[in-house]
Symmetry: C2
Subunit: 809 residues, 2 copies
């Protein structure tokens, strides 16, 4: 898949005066429609003088950034027409929603997907009214906005989304407007280095447009207040060729602004065409300095210059609503009417309210419209992955000898992912913060692909190449954002990370979950591939890295988001991980949080059992328990997570040996959603089935991977909730051994067995000696592991159980 | 408080050969001690040939970054002696722990605070053994490490911590080593712009030292693989004067490396001295280009060059343990012995095991030692704030007319904070992501101070100045990290943020909480001032900004951390906010999460009542309920949070009017910790008291600010838990009105009153008509608010309650 190098070039001359007029008409119309959305309930075309009743009772929205966004949109339209560009428009400046909507309306896309908002005066009224209005649309470029893949609510992710969209889209131009406010955020500041990973031939182009209008909410911005030479140096330092242009100040004639900016944009696009051409012919060997535009324009450009004696246009005072008292203050009302009429609406819209031909002369057609580009509605482009047969990569488990062989679950997964990579060379990627090997997806994955890298390469580098399905940078933000951009444009992938540090992207996760939740209610948005996490190097095996690396709380963040979007899976061995990930890679519209260890650990289920168990999401492990499976047990030992399951199985084994008449049922939970009630989660188990598994009244000792309260939160409506005793991570961590970690947090096999003895009526009296022996064995094991600085002989050896078998080191 | 300009300058010449030898001796010793920590259990001075039994059974730790850190430490020591510098050493590279410990041991500090690790052979054995060993110390520069304020576990915060430490410490040099791995993170990439906020006269100096050893875990780093001209441009773009230096490659004589680096360091420090001098005289008017050093040195420098035929020194293979098989592989054992002996330990330590004089010739003394600088143990420097009298800023509430007056709680707080600022001009700061005004701490705060800003200023700017107690940048990461650095060095402050976007710093919060928790167990660390959050612009009043701004889940992240560290407060009016914040600003060692609205809202408690209520943390509001306060109620209406309390009070009022014989108790919870059991939280209410307030068996309808499961998680051990019905944010948000927000999430007054009717036995039958009227009023209010795009006449007007009073718009 390579690009057509001629597609990017425009052989023509600079734009003619009439083209500049066309740009200006579009810009005026977009600005008019933007102001209308912020202010007007009625009288959308000013057929009569503005009256207080025409004004919304509550003025919301953000004018400041909008004229700049509209300006850029108009200019990009010209170049799309002239160069037949396939362009996506990403707007970072948070509240630019009215502008995005205005342009999509002028494009015609808006009326196509929202037929009530047609190209009539009534349609205009509806367009204006819905903006930031109950039952209407948000003030940001939200999922409801055609052409957008980037919410403007939480700032900082435009550029990383742009790169995510550009990967494997060789013919795509992603024009990414970066607000000078969001440019101060960490994720944005790091995202500039995306160009070190882009392949000029097989990926698309990101054109960053740093929009300096100078102000945030109430402050100037840093990048607007450093000298030009520093700004130029900064962009060169990021690896770009900067194109600086300033427009709109000191009463500049707008046609001059248009002419100057059009020239700069053409220069930048010509430079892109050069790079693309030399990449296509193979001449390009070094990383190119892609163009980046810096546009300085006044904040609130074309808005009221002065309000109540204070300057507004060109200052932070135009950030939101420049005229706040329009309903009550006749002077404000007059200023608003002047402002609206300054765009000459009568020259832009016909009598019926439709845009005149001159207004939309520059509109591209069909999918060339940035608001209708299918990459911004990526579900339309989604092709299911060719997954091959994951069963062939299963770890061989013999039912008669469960636990007898060890495997690293993530390496088994990696073995299959290598096949997925081979079968899907252009729409599946793995992102990781320099941990793909550490998380043991490699070596297998690097037998199938390399790490894509376009910075310098030195002798001795391994698995770095100009193309590759793995991309690694030490930034969870960038990994998260790249994958978001990649799946929102219809492709597939996963993000693997150390469990604790996934918290770094909590807020990005939240925003992506909200985007997907909102999208569920937008019929024209086709479901996109799921976002898949693989959280490895988890809390229980971070004994060596210590307390700072021990945090299983990302699950809790995930569980707070919509159950229609979020899924949390805790496979407990290699085969359950395979079965889980097969489901994840097939699913759409979800965020799948999968937690799995990477260390050698005993294997329990055959692949067929694993598939069945994961399909159920939870179930009894009949081979692990005691007593008649058809009757109610005395106690339930439940587990979710690989290490907790190991400890539960070991506890069950201890009990089988020492209290053979006790009926112990062992339950494993892979899909946390099953624990919730039917009315709380689409996977929620009916109460009857829940009670059949967990019993309504027997003690349930639950060993859980994360913070124990999560299990209470999920099950508080269940009949047996007061009999539920959860052991989990209690924030008791340090640098120690794996066994000491479970002991510190009361999750170890001995403690679980003791808890059973304490909770089952009568056992404590009858088995007080055993209880003491277990306690002694526990302390002996702890002492052993602490003294020698190693684990008990093999923490994975669940047979190392008996109180009297402590070996010499 | 201004600096002494002569203190920074050194009039001497370049270091003599003997000084270079001293540097080299220190470096060799520090490297030797670092390798020893990673490998040795015994035989610390190689008095006999290394044997497998001398080697730790489990090899942990990270060699790669360590020799570079040791190199810098040695060189900084020289300049401290020569210039009498007051220097703090911050090491970003994650796992440089062995180096930090080694240097603190050579300094003598380590043995002073850990007497068992004395300067004998036995002390050395203990030093080595404890590293990354159960019961020992972590592999990072953790709280256990003297001289450190920066955990190396989660990467990216070194530079932002450095600036936090430098603010208001005019004589302090913060030498901040930035790993080229962490340099890829977002927070680090943004942190460079801290120099736009530093005041050269009244703040200290940050000297960034970007350490390019070229590799992360398994990959090269981006900044090591861009051309020098891009790197130089990048640093200039960040506003620095770059000093590039490369040492240690191609078998360079180490003394040449030392000489060259010493020259560069002197140049950079001389430049700093120039800037400080011109700042002190007032000559400096523009923002200076502070020096930044770029040090290229081989990863794993001085370690084994080749192991098993593969290059190790200078590659990513030296990231962790270059020789992995030492216990079993005689060749590895031999290589390790050669490596250790290459530092010539016999020339560095005397027969007893103490460092020889030549080894520590460059050691500064006392608090000039970087490991003993009191700023790195900030609790020692803590001075309590002069808080004035917050009562004087109280909102006047008349008990007979509660709810009759409105106030913006955060503005009332701001009014008092202005006084705190005036009384504490050099050790209290407010950080915010451009939201201090939006969160309404201003205007009052800006009457007392300005926003500190050292970038360009233009006509029309307001409240920007070269000095000021408020610092704002649109990066939650920087706000969080600056305040962390500020409090860890003994000063006070708060971070105000939109509630939803506080999730951006979840992981930084986690790490700070872990730092504080670990510090509790380290006797020599004096408690530092608490880290105070003010989460405003909260979920219930983000109706206008919509779904992306609606997230109360930061509380849940906070509650997962140690109850000995974290406090969560939900004051419900201006006076409870004042009383809460008074407590927070006096407290030490905590992280206080305070959530408070900023919108005009009715006021409930007199300041005396507020103080008493907040001291209790929760309590009955006797004036709001019905029935005899001395007897058990029929139902408890509980609330935590300002909007939930308003709705509960309104529901109670509805019930008082329409079901006057019902005994309703109204309870408000400010301190969430009170809900937990005594054994779970130090603030936990004894069961008896809990039952006395909430009853053990009556229905409790609980209106909660955040996700409702949090209340279940806190109370699941309480007797009445199954009678508890929590209403909270159910992730049902959109762009709408405040009233619609509470309705969408079933938190509105009507729904609460209906829930009471449904839950109190017999009421639903007796009051079926009222139930229907409430339901009708609910839908009428919803319709009203949605149709007109405004709130019900005043969502803050709790008297707008009756089903039949829907006004015309």
């Amino acid at each position: 898949m390579t690009t057509n190098p001629t597609a990017w070039r425009h052989a023509g001359s600079e734009p003619s005066p009439s083209t500049l007029e066309d740009i200006h008409a579009w810009w005026r119309a977009a600005n008019y429609l933007s102001v209308g959305q912020i202010y007007l309930l009625d009288n959308p075309l000013l057929r009569r003088p503005l009256a207080p009743g025409d004004i919304k009772p509550r003025l919301l929205g953000h004018w400041g950034t909008t004229p700049g966004l509209n300006f850029l949109y108009a200019h990009l339209n010209r170049t799309i027409l002239e160069r037949d560009l396939n362009a996506l428009y990403i707007t970072g400046p948070g509240h630019g929603g009215p502008g995005m909507v205005a342009n999509a309306y002028l494009d015609g896309t808006y009326s196509e997907i929202y037929p009530d908002i047609d190209r009539t005066e009534a349609g205009l009224s509806a367009l204006f009214r819905q903006f930031s209005f109950p039952g209407g649309i948000p003030s940001h470029a939200s999922p409801e906005t055609p052409g957008s893949i980037n919410e403007g609510g939480e700032l900082g992710y435009s550029l990383v989304h742009a790169y995510g969209a550009a990967f494997d889209n060789p013919d795509l131009l992603v024009a990414c407007v970066i607000g000078d406010g969001e440019a101060e955020t960490g994720p944005l500041a790091a995202a500039w280095h995306g160009n070190k990973f882009l392949n000029p031939s097989q990926d698309g182009v990101v054109l960053p447009i740093l929009h300096l209008n100078g102000y945030k909410i109430a402050n100037p911005t840093v990048l607007a207040r450093i000298p030009d030479e520093e700004l130029i140096a900064l962009l060169r330092g990021y690896g770009h060729e900067p194109f600086l242009v300033t427009v709109g100040f000191d009463g500049e004639d707008p046609l001059e602004s248009h002419a100057r900016f059009a020239g700069v944009l053409d220069d930048a696009l010509d430079r892109i065409a050069d790079i693309k051409a030399s990449a296509a012919t193979g001449e390009l060997v070094e990383r190119p300095a892609w163009p980046a535009i810096v546009l300085r324009s006044p904040k609130g450009w074309t808005g009221p210059a002065v309000v109540d004696g204070l300057p507004v246009e060109g200052t932070w005072r135009s950030h939101q609503v420049p005229l706040a008292g329009v309903r009550d203050n006749p002077e404000h009302l007059r200023l608003l009417e002047d402002w609206l009429r300054s765009y000459r609406p009568d020259d832009l819209f016909d009598d019926g309210g439709a845009p005149l031909e001159v207004t939309t002369a520059l509109a591209p057609v069909g999918q060339r419209r940035m608001s209708a580009n299918p990459v911004a509605n990526g579900g339309q482009l989604r092709k299911p992955l060719r997954l091959g047969e994951f069963r062939e990569h299963a770890h061989p488990v013999v039912a008669a000898q469960r636990g007898a062989t060890n495997a690293e679950a993530t390496r088994t997964l990696g073995d299959w992912l290598a096949e997925v990579i081979r079968r899907n060379p252009d729409n599946f990627r793995i992102f990781g913060p320099d941990e793909t090997a550490s998380n043991r997806l490699a070596p297998p994955v690097y037998e199938a692909t390399d790490k894509q890298w376009n910075a310098e390469v030195e002798v001795g580098d391994e698995h770095l190449a100009s193309t590759g399905r793995v991309i690694e940078i030490l930034s969870e933000h960038l990994c998260q954002g790249w994958l978001e951009g990649y799946v929102l444009t219809g492709r597939h992938g996963l993000f693997n990370s150390y469990e604790a540090f996934t918290h770094i992207v909590d807020s990005m996760f939240n925003q992506h979950a909200k985007w997907l939740e909102a999208s569920l209610h937008i019929p024209w948005r086709a479901p996109v591939p799921s976002f898949n996490y693989l959280l490895s190097s988890h809390v229980w095996r971070q004994d060596h890295n210590g307390f700072s690396h021990q945090d299983p709380g990302f699950i809790d963040v995930a569980l707070n988001k919509s159950p229609d979007v979020v899924r949390v899976y805790l496979p407990f061995d290699a085969n359950t991980l395979l079965a889980t990930y097969d489901h994840c890679l097939r699913s759409v519209g979800h965020i799948n949080v999968v937690v799995s260890g990477k260390q050698p650990a005993p294997q329990w289920l055959t692949i067929d059992e694993a598939i069945e168990h994961c399909a159920r999401g939870l179930g009894i492990l009949p081979w692990a328990g005691t007593g008649d499976p058809g009757t109610e047990p005395d106690v339930v030992l439940a587990a979710a997570g690989d290490v907790p399951t190991l400890e539960v199985l070991a506890a069950a084994s201890l009990l089988r040996e020492h209290v053979p008449d006790l009926a112990v049922r062992v339950v494993n939970v892979v899909d946390l959603g099953r624990l919730q009630s039917e009315d709380q989660h689409p996977h929620g188990l009916p109460d009857r089935e829940f009670d059949a598994i967990f019993t309504p009244d027997k003690p349930v000792i639950f060993a859980y991977h994360g913070y124990p309260w999560a299990i209470h939160r999920l099950t508080y409506k269940r009949a047996g909730h007061q009999n539920l005793h959860v052991h989990g991570f209690m924030e008791k961590g340090t640098t120690t051994t794996p066994f000491d970690m479970v002991m510190l947090n009361d999750l170890d096999r001995y403690r679980l067995a003791i808890d059973v003895i304490d909770r089952v009526p009568g056992l404590a009296t009858r088995h007080s000696t055993l209880r003491q022996e277990l306690q002694d064995a526990r302390l002996r094991a702890r002492d052993y592991t602490r003294r020698h600085g190693i684990d008990i002989p093999d923490v994975a050896d669940w047979r190392w159980l008996a109180p009297d078998t402590t070996p010499a080191p």
